[in-house]
Symmetry: C2
Subunit: 233 residues, 2 copies
């Protein structure tokens, strides 16, 4: 009988949100041995971190690492600084320019930390749940950004200096609509009740229902023809 | 009389070592308004951070920011984990492969944090004191790595989406010998007694005299025909 092949090892960025949780479920389903990385970057609320822990545990990752980096000290975003989160915007308003919830260079920082861990683990794969459709205003959610990071990673690491190995950055959700993302997760049995999307949660950690992230989530569930388990009737 | 032009703004990565301190002195001399960024990445000793503070103060930077990121949690280096620092190696031994003092993806992480701050400051310049000659074993000290990061930065940021602006990553020491770096700093009046290079300092923070970094520094001062103010006779 042939030896079973070892699973390919992947570092998966996991915020605890809908997209990154679906991305992790996909990577697990595709047969990767997943190491989940949650970056604590000075978020104003802890609900996202709690969701990341729930999802990592439920999906049975090999290891879940939380790394802290104080992006709040750098400033410049409604997600880390004392800038009001916009509420009740329609799609046209969301599409205008770079939103105030954009965190400067966030995905570059996240991917570089994932790269550091991947190198230590000898992992050749990084997964990131970025999405170019709903987040068209975020420069670091575009396919060309992901490709540029893959090029950088090949030059930045010991692995990149070894023949025949090349780190790959997977962004499987990048061209999906929110409804497609939700349908994908549901087909894999992901419980979206574990996840958290809101930029400005209520004191008990529930969704505000009016920020861009809540509105995109609600629209996604409606278009997917599914009920959001976070919203109890 | 014409209005005085505002100085171009630069984020300068400053470890407190010989190279990054020289890089900061050069950037200041070239007329940049300098914001020094020191990344606390779980070093085993605090002597480097103290040196960064001394140098930033002495050179009169506009602001000195210390950001913490726990690269030690990622593991894999003698500089953050419990791996012995090699001592007494000659140039041929140092040139063999990637050294154990290499921190996984360190310069990628450092540059991404500098990019986050640069974006917040609207700075179009980042300075990093990497050197390709003495650190030939470090993949993220090569010119092609710096160029790949510059390409990434253009795609990663709001600034990159605005016409006519492009973030530049300056690595002015990249092709200099250690002696040339020291001569450059001395010509700019930099006091190398403020800096710190040792990978494995003595309990009172002094240099061990035998690690790669101490040996390269001693050789550099010898070739520059200068005395190292850190070594009292």
């Amino acid at each position: 009988m042939p030896e079973p092949q070892p699973k390919p090892v992947a570092v998966v960025l996991l915020s605890g949100g809908l997209d990154s949780s679906t991305c992790l479920a996909l990577a697990q389903d595709q047969g990767y041995e997943c190491y989940a990385l949650t970056v604590r970057y000075g978020q104003r609320h802890q609900a996202e971190l709690a969701a990341a822990r729930r999802v990592a545990r439920a999906l049975g990752v090999k290891q879940h690492l939380e790394l802290s980096v104080d992006l709040a000290a750098v400033g410049g975003s409604a997600l880390t600084a004392d800038i009001a989160v916009p509420k009740g915007r329609d799609a046209a308003q969301m599409a205008q320019g770079v939103p105030v919830t954009y965190v400067p260079a966030r995905n570059t920082v996240f991917l570089s930390l994932a790269l550091a861990w991947a190198e230590t683990l000898s992992a050749e794969h990084i997964f990131i749940g970025v999405n170019a459709l709903d987040y068209s205003g975020y420069p670091d959610c575009r396919p060309e950004f992901i490709m540029a990071f893959e090029n950088l990673a090949a030059l930045a690491t010991k692995m990149g200096t070894q023949q025949g190995r090349r780190l790959r950055v997977h962004a499987p959700l990048i061209r999906m609509s929110k409804a497609q993302i939700i349908q994908t997760g549901l087909s894999l049995g992901l419980d979206y009740g574990l996840t958290h999307s809101c930029y400005d949660p209520t004191p008990d950690g529930g969704p505000c229902g009016a920020c861009d992230s809540c509105l995109l989530r609600a629209k996604g569930f409606a278009e997917a023809g599914a009920a959001d388990p976070l919203l109890k009737p």
